[in-house]
Amino acid sequence: MTIAVAELRVEDKLFLNRYLVDAGGPHIKVRPHEKPSPNLIALTRVCPAKCYELNDKGQVEITADGCMECGTCRVLCEASGEIEWNYPRGGFGVLFKFG
């Protein structure tokens, strides 16, 4: 007998979570760049919410809506100045029901 374990895409996983998105006030920004650094490129795979993506010009973009505010991208890319990282305004962002 094969036992099914529901397999979900990240997008579907994030759909399970509750968010209060601060529309128009993204808390993380990627600074404009020509060529992304290895760490910035790594984020397209390592961000647990898949917020980072390469655009067709080979630059890294962020859509922070599904962000779980873990801080991984801050640890990897804030010191180099590639990203600007803040917490969302009080009450906004991810709202874990269980945590």
């Binding site: 036992i3 099914a4 374990v5 529901a6 397999e7 979900l8 990240v10 996983k13 994030l14 399970l16 979570n17 209060l20 290895p38 760490n39 490129i41 790594a42 795979r45 390592v46 647990p48 919410a49 898949k50 779980m68 505010e69 873990c70 801080g71 991984t72 801050r74 640890v75 990897l76 804030e78 010191a79 803040n86 917490y87 969302p88 305004r89 009080g90 009450g91 962002g93 991810v94 709202l95 874990f96 029901k97 269980f98 945590g99």
Partner: protein, 435 residues
């Protein structure tokens, strides 16, 4: 917004912040606690095992109304390769005691409860408020905080930074370094819901008994990491975490790792048919003793994960957080009741008290472990689990090969993979780090 001045402001309503705020408020101090989440716990993630002793020292009768899931009667350690696990189980009916030692909890519920206790003790708790900056006087002493709510500085004699692993405020104010990729792990976790009876049957548990599984091996694909599976009353918390530096260099995806762990033949049957209700991610401080920053200064102290007080070897963080929060609260209360100012010299009392507690002593004991596991991650997380599996399988398969030949083959496999010298030096290094 708030005109009055407080004896203390606590930033954050997690384990450490709640312990600090409770300790001070219950002794009659005027405390303001600020939390950026909609409710305490809405931003927090934990496995989550909660250690009774450390909470008992703060709220002795917590068992009466705290939201507790199951008390652990069984612990399993698994060394995993791709298709098998070699395990050690410990189960004892002694853990079915009147006042159990460890419980699983659900942080969002637990933090709400703890916060209610903090309010009942008399503290003012403001949620949905992100502290944006520490306020200093001209001499650099911390005198209060600024928040994202309208209004100016909120003043206090002392600020307790209980802001968690990311520690934005403290690092931006230059009080301590930013967490580094090699001193923090990224963990992802899911909540799998199943009927209470099903969990009981699958793990051999009755009533509120719980089972705890920690797993290492090829599941972290050579990265320094650990997976866990904890039973709650009607859900299973399941996750995996690896060092951020390892993630960056391998560019493995955390969710792919988690999914592979779930699909592992040893894990799959345990969660079959479950409904996943949440997916979370959080950092864990892994730097240990050597990563502990300056803990106090003029008008401030730092507690919990923000101070890297986390024992990665034993997967303990919440108890170090609660204890450091309580000790900071007690130290501040002592200084306050003498009518002394919250200067750096006086607040050094917090560090003295913390150094004498299990918090610093435990971290000191394992001070070499983080670096060892990091620099030898491939051996500890890939080579050895595979060798263990080979050895166990060799031992268990009955196929007409004389036992002496089997033993020789196993030894040869270990030596081939790691060389005699490598094996001895790994063992010695591990023993020294563990000592």
């Amino acid at each position: 917004m708030i005109e009055e001045k407080f004896d203390a402001i606590v930033i954050g309503a997690g384990m450490s912040g709640n312990a600090a705020a409770y300790t001070m408020a219950s002794r009659g101090m005027k405390v303001l606690q600020l939390e950026r989440g909609e409710y305490p716990g809405s931003k927090n993630v934990q496995g989550a095992i909660m250690y009774a002793d450390m909470l008992e020292k703060i709220i002795p009768d917590f068992r009466e109304d705290a939201p507790l899931e199951r008390h652990a009667v069984e612990q399993r350690f698994w060394m995993m390769d791709d298709t098998s696990h070699t395990g050690m189980h410990y189960r004892s009916d002694d853990f079915n005691e009147a006042m159990p030692n460890r419980y699983t909890i659900i942080r969002a519920q637990f933090d709400k409860w703890f916060s209610r206790k903090v309010r009942e003790a008399g503290a003012t708790v403001l949620c949905e408020t992100t502290v944006t900056e520490l306020a200093h006087d001209t001499k650099g002493k911390v005198i209060g905080v600024r928040t994202d709510r309208a209004g100016d500085v909120i003043f206090a004699d002392v600020v307790v930074l209980a802001e968690g692993v990311n520690g934005l405020l403290g690092t931006r104010a230059g009080l301590r370094e930013m967490p580094k990729p090699e001193t923090v792990a990224l963990a992802v976790k899911e909540m799998h819901f199943l009927p209470e009876e099903v969990i009981g049957e699958r793990f051999g548990l009755k009533g509120n008994e719980g089972c705890v599984i920690e797993a290492a091996g090829t599941i972290s694909r050579g990265m320094t990491g650990l997976a866990f599976l904890y039973t709650n009353r009607e859900s299973i918390s399941l996750g995996i975490g690896c060092l951020v530096s390892d993630f960056a260099s391998t560019t493995e995806s955390p969710y792919a790792l988690l999914d592979a762990f779930k699909r592992h033949p040893s894990v799959r049957p345990l969660i079959a048919g479950s409904e996943v209700k949440e997916y979370t991610a959080h950092l864990i401080p892994e730097g240990g003793y050597k990563a502990i920053p300056q803990l106090f200064g003029d008008g401030w102290v730092v507690v919990g994960d923000a101070a890297q007080l986390n024992n990665a070897v034993h997967r303990e963080g919440s108890n170090l957080a609660m204890t450091s929060g309580r000790i900071a609260g007690e130290a501040i209360f002592q200084i306050n009741s003498r009518g002394d100012p919250m200067t750096k010299e006086n607040l050094a009392l917090y560090k003295t008290m913390l150094d004498n507690s299990f918090v610093v002593k435990d971290l000191m004991k394992y001070k070499d472990m983080p670096v060892l596991l990091h620099t030898h991650s491939r051996h500890f997380f890939m080579t050895y689990p595979q060798l263990m599996s080979l050895a166990a399988q060799n031992f268990m398969r009955v196929d007409g090969t004389p036992k002496i030949e089997k033993e020789k083959a196993t030894t040869a496999a270990f030596i081939k993979a790691r060389s005699r010298w490598g094996l001895v030096s790994d063992a010695v290094r591990l023993a020294f780090a563990w000592r």
